[in-house]
């Protein structure tokens, strides 16, 4: 059998609940405002574009193992590196030029500061380069 327990709410409780709901709905408004405009969808496809940039390079690299990495400096250096690693997985990409193959990633600047021991093997366009390590010089 069911047992019902009822209690009439005091005004304090009603006020508290109303305040709680109203203030919560204010934040619901914030969620509405911060949502992307459904009429003008702007898709952030940086990851897909990154995968496409490295697609041809990926076919020229070994299927497994570790390759080196050099890229631009500045604020975008770290995201650029992770995008490269994400695109080239399951290859491990190490931020070092001490590997037989070294990937160059220069999406916005022309390559500079290339270590002397690296020889350009192929330029895949869009700032994607493949270097071979010719040993310490």
């Amino acid at each position: 059998m069911s047992t019902q327990v009822s209690a009439k709410l005091p005004a304090r409780t009603t006020t508290g609940i109303v305040l709680f709901v109203l203030c919560s709905l204010l934040s619901t408004l914030r969620i509405v405002w911060s949502a992307p405009n459904p009429a003008r969808p702007a898709v952030d496809d940086i990851y897909s574009r990154s995968d496409q940039r490295f697609a041809v390079l990926k076919t020229r690299l070994p299927l497994r193992g570790v390759v080196g990495y050099i890229g631009e400096s500045g604020d975008s250096a770290t995201p650029d590196y992770y995008l490269t690693q994400y695109a080239l997985a399951p290859l491990v990409v190490e931020r070092s030029s001490a590997h037989s193959f070294v990937v160059g990633n220069f999406p916005s600047l022309s390559p500079k500061g290339i270590p002397l021991n690296l020889r350009l093997v192929e330029d895949f366009g869009n700032g994607v380069l493949l270097f071979a390590n010719e040993g310490p010089r």
Partner: protein
């Protein structure tokens, strides 16, 4: 259509696992709601574990392995269901709030509105950011999934210290579940991590509301739903493809199972609190398999349960309580053990050491710096007001206001509440200790992680608040079976 099969496995496994552990009685109508959401979470958790085990064992016939798991679960489920001896329970419900009609309608409309807005915003965010909302999605979680899926026999190479900041020591619930789905699709479709992220957020909201609907009543459940769905940071993270919301789900699931067990213990033998402890143990195991913070939560949960059992044993009025509490704790540990073994094995043989523990002397030096404690305390205080990105009035403050409005002035002795609060407090203390010894710049570390740590506990906090504080000092009346 290729996606239908893994979704079917995932759902079936969650259903069968829950059904096999559920107390041996018929499921009541009010239990169907939270059982559905637990099914989703547990199914994904098991889906992840099975994939990881097949990778470890070098099993390449995934369909055969999944079919075998389904067969085993179905057999256990059928055996357990045949032993149902207890009839359906007619549950008593407390009607705590005798709300005026206009407020009932306003509450229902607000709940529907906030839920629709949260879901709509999450879908729009996912369309705008199909690969997630922040670095961690592709530099940690989805990267690990790619290594598990594309790495073949060499998948371990992805968990290398050569990839800085990829946190190869992080547990693999979400990456392995994603990789399992990808294996059926045959390619790394970005819609899978996106869908998984949203599924966990919906399941968290659904579990919160449906469990309170069962344990308390409709209006408290709707207020809780409004609190969570109106948290902008929760909605943002719902599409981030991080592991914080999956962890929040499993923390909440463990709390829900604990309270279902504790509520029923001693009231009706048909409820079998041990079964609820096993379910809580499974949820805790999945929490530990989701993030390292989940392991901290497990430790806090266990400590709180032991403290609660010891405290019960000291009370003269309940001299057999300690004895009674031992069985659920043992059941919880037994359910948790397989996941802890798997995590221990992963940490010992595959993952490099974590990045948070530096040399002993460096950590001692930090522990002995009072300034660090003060910095962390200040950030905890600030985050209390800033957490959630609420507009104008913070959600934490709103809960305090509602508490003041709802409190009845009488204090209840409630061991379940005490142990739950202790769990949350110990977890927060654990986070605090990690910040004290962090090798990173403390401001940077606090800035980029504290809000997500709070988010992990936010659904559980809301659950506990509306389970206990809004109760007008009346606890539920005992269930009566017919």
């Amino acid at each position: 259509m290729a996606i239908a099969l893994p979704i079917g496995f995932c759902f079936a496994w969650g259903f069968l696992l829950l059904g096999a552990i559920w107390p041996p009685r018929q499921v009541s109508s009010s239990e169907h709601g939270f059982r559905l959401f637990l099914t989703l979470g547990f199914g994904i958790g098991l889906f992840s574990v099975v994939f990881f085990v097949t990778r470890l064992a070098g099993i390449t016939h995934l369909l055969a392995a999944d079919s075998f798991v389904t067969l085993v679960l179905a057999t256990v489920y059928a055996w357990r269901r045949n032993r149902i001896t207890h009839p359906l329970l007619i549950e008593s419900r407390s009607q705590d709030f005798n709300l005026p009609v206009w407020l009932r309608h306003a509450l229902t409309a607000s709940f529907v509105l906030s839920t629709l807005v949260a879901c709509g915003s999450a879908l729009l965010q996912t369309r705008a950011h199909p690969h997630g909302y922040g670095w961690d999605a592709f530099s940690i979680w989805n990267l690990h999934a790619r290594f598990l899926f594309l790495g073949g026999d060499h998948w371990r190479e992805g968990f290398s210290a050569l990839i800085p900041w990829s946190h190869p020591d992080y547990p693999l619930l979400t990456p392995a579940a994603i990789a399992h789905f990808w294996s059926y699709l045959g390619h790394d479709d970005p819609r899978v991590p996106a869908a998984l992220s949203i599924t966990f957020a919906c399941a968290t909201l659904g579990l919160l509301v449906s469990s309170l609907m069962h344990l308390r009543e409709r209006h408290a459940a709707m207020l809780a739903g409004i609190a969570l769905a109106s948290t902008p940071f929760f909605v943002e993270q719902a599409t981030a493809q991080y592991a914080d919301i999956p962890l929040a789900f499993f923390c909440l699931a463990s709390m829900v199972c604990l309270h279902l067990g504790l509520r029923n213990s001693g009231e009706n033998s048909a409820h079998h609190p041990t079964n609820w402890s096993i379910l809580a143990g499974v949820a805790l195991g999945f929490a530990a398999w989701t993030k390292n913070e989940g392991q901290l939560f497990v430790a806090a949960f266990l400590l709180a349960q032991v403290a609660s059992a010891l405290s019960a044993g000291r009370r003269p009025s309940s001299c057999d309580s300690a004895q009674k509490n031992r069985l659920p704790i043992a059941a919880l540990l037994i359910a948790l053990a397989p996941m802890l073994l798997l995590i221990g094995w992963f940490k010992h043989t595959i993952a490099p050491p974590g990045d948070l523990f530096s040399s002993g002397s460096a950590m001692l030096q930090k522990i002995a710096s009072p300034g660090r404690y003060w910095i962390i305390l200040r950030w905890y205080g600030k985050e209390f007001f800033r957490f959630g990105n609420w507009w104008i009035v913070p959600g934490t403050v709103l809960l305090v206001v509602l508490y003041l409005a709802l409190r009845s002035g009488t204090r209840r002795h409630d061991p379940a509440l005490r142990s739950s609060i202790l769990t949350l407090a110990l977890t927060l203390a654990g986070y605090f200790a990690i910040y004290v010894i962090t090798p990173y710049d403390i401001y940077w570390h606090l800035r980029f992680s504290l809000n997500r740590l709070f988010l992990q506990l936010w659904p559980s906090t809301i659950f506990l608040f509306f389970l206990f504080v809004g109760g007008q000092s009346r606890s539920l009346s005992p269930d009566k079976s017919i």
